[in-house]
Assembly symmetry: C2
Homo-oligomer: 345 residues x 2
DNA sequence: CATCAAAATGAAAACGTGTTCACTTACAAT
DNA sequence: ATTGTAAGTGAACACGTTTTCATTTTGATG
């Protein structure tokens, strides 16, 4: 019976707490706002009663007048990807500590950032939005700029973006050249002549950047241009693409994968289907350094983008913009470096 | 210049749209509420103008009067775990299609569902909450029942919970006995005598259930009780625990892991550190059937809990409760079955 | 004791929406 | 032409909070 009543009883409001504590509703509001001035003993008493009544300020009502929703929107094509799930996890933890909650949306698998989705999302008034899709068009985001909602686009190097309107947004710049150079130097040191690039998604900006950069560096070092095989960042596609490379095409001495998961697919195809040894017959290098990469079954040599650094930079950007929205856009830069393990030696 | 102004310009409100379209603000509200009655041509005109003005109803304001936030809270200890990330991904997609957004919170790694976190989360007024931590205490949730916010606790079999107050909540029941029986039958068929159970987190209810059930079934079949080794669902811990099992303890013929990732750790320890063959010397069975389990490097035989079924059942429960909150609690049941691959043959 | 600045207080006005409730219009049936 | 009914309309209120601003209380200073 009482359970039933409890269940139906309305949520405690500031008014109820005020009545119970013999103060005005304003005092209750102040008690929950740390920088408001209120007699300490009074605040304590209010908080005490609030706790007894299980009262929490209603975020919806608060955000209506504050213009701050304390929500950070994240748009993700695939939560299951180890790389993205790591990012979500770490970001959510960091933001949660700062009092922000994560609002998660799933984008279409083909990376197309739907306008409907953005509009829908805007209804929730996120204080900030993080787009994981690197290929998002700047003009799609433009409609978002009202009410000073800042957008952070994550992509790598992004020479293409440099002169476009995206300079309006805060950016995270990943300098992947260093890591790629180290990797190719290592491969060349082992006498590799024919490198294949196992690509990621066609639309992915990071993917195109990586392909361009690998081609460039190979040329600089007097090596022949890479054989490029298409894939989509997934294990299965990478597996099949690798089979094609060796059965239809004429193989390679080394495979440079656009991401670690793709490298796993390549390794398994080589070892379990083609009967080739890694790193004996073919060397493999990945990209990202996800936790699985140190698993003994793969023990992957890979270009590392430090997650901790990345998230720290991201949180720094977000909090800065939330605190003073009028500041000009800022760019944070991140480096990469090769982590040497067992798939090249 | 105009960019600057756009940026600062306030977001379009229903009032603005109404003024622009020469209708009352109420008409605008109705235009966005499909079941409200409004002359079709009028609605079209309003929607047209709304689109031009980039207007979307403010969810905060709407939820204030509707008592529906269209938010579904999810509490997750580790987004990176393949099992959980899959669940988040599929659930978010399904709920998004129904007009709900995912509000993501990270619980402490030790599974302790913090009361502070729940209180904080309640401030956002989620229409529903999904707790991935199976060990959450019912009384912690009780404070949540006001305002008819339903809670869905996910756990397996949960005999312990049957008679407790948790019968207040809708539940998802996973019948893992079938799958476990099939697995043990298969092992016995291959002449396995000594089975080790590589556990998950101590606090995890699912883990304790699995241990109990394995012990029970082994006894029923006249086999000796399992050696139980502690772990925490992670690769690294499982790896070390397996080393201990064979170096400190006296080994086993088969390892039954509490989850697939743990099984990977065991396999790698056996193959790359202990010099044992899988399945030649030791057979391995996992739990979950995550996508990685079919990767050739592991090719794991495992007890499958079908994700699609699971999410469908979950969404069914959530939507039902959202539509008529007064209904009594319901329990959905899910089966399990063994997926035979290469680690037992 | 008087005076004044500073701190604490509460009434009222927002914030942007959905909903009620009378009211008007439109249209078919008598 | 008249009635009856349904559908369409808009003014006013409600949702729970923060913020302003004028007012009261406090506490220290002369």
């Amino acid at each position: 019976m009482s359970e039933r009543n409890d269940r139906k009883s309305a949520r405690a409001t500031a008014d109820l707490v005020a009545r119970e504590a013999n103060v005005s509703r304003v005092a209750v509001s102040r008690a929950f706002n740390p920088n408001a001035s209120l007699k300490p003993e009074k605040r304590d008493r209010i908080l005490q009663i609030a706790r007894e009544l299980n009262y929490t300020p209603d975020m919806a009502a608060r955000s209506l007048v504050t213009r701050r929703s304390h929500l950070v929107g994240m748009i993700v094509p695939d939560v299951c990807s180890p790389w993205e799930s790591q990012e979500i996890d770490t970001l959510t933890t960091a933001l949660q500590a700062e009092g922000f909650a994560t609002l998660l949306f799933k984008a279409k698998a083909d990376f197309s950032m739907d306008h409907t989705l953005l509009t829908y999302m805007r209804g929730f008034n996120p204080d900030s939005v993080i787009a994981f899709t690197e290929n998002v068009e700047p003009d799609v985001l433009t409609g978002f700029l009202d009410r000073a909602v800042p957008i952070y686009v994550i992509y790598d190097d992004g020479a293409q973006f440099a002169d476009k309107s995206s300079s309006l947004y805060d950016r995270l710049l990943v300098r992947q050249r260093d890591g790629i150079e180290q990797a190719i130097a290592l491969l060349q040191g082992y006498g590799v002549r024919r490198v294949a690039y196992l690509g990621g998604k066609r639309q992915s900006l990071a993917n195109r950047e990586r392909e361009r950069m690998i081609t460039e560096i190979l040329a600089e070092r007097g090596m022949q241009p890479p054989t490029v095989i298409d894939s989509d960042y997934t294990y299965d596609t990478a597996y099949r693409a690798t089979l094609d490379l060796f059965r239809v095409e004429d193989g390679a001495d080394a495979i440079f994968a656009a991401n670690d998961v793709g490298a796993f697919g390549a390794i398994d195809a080589l070892r379990h289907d083609l009967g080739l040894s890694v790193p004996g017959d073919v060397k493999v290098v990945g990209f990202d350094d996800i936790p699985q990469s140190h698993w003994k079954a793969y023990n992957l040599t890979t270009v590392r983008i430090d997650l901790e650094d990345r998230v720290r930079a991201l949180v720094r950007l977000i909090l800065r913009r939330l605190r003073n929205p009028e500041d000009g856009p800022l760019t944070e830069t991140l480096g990469t470096r090769l982590v040497v393990r067992g798939t090249v030696g």
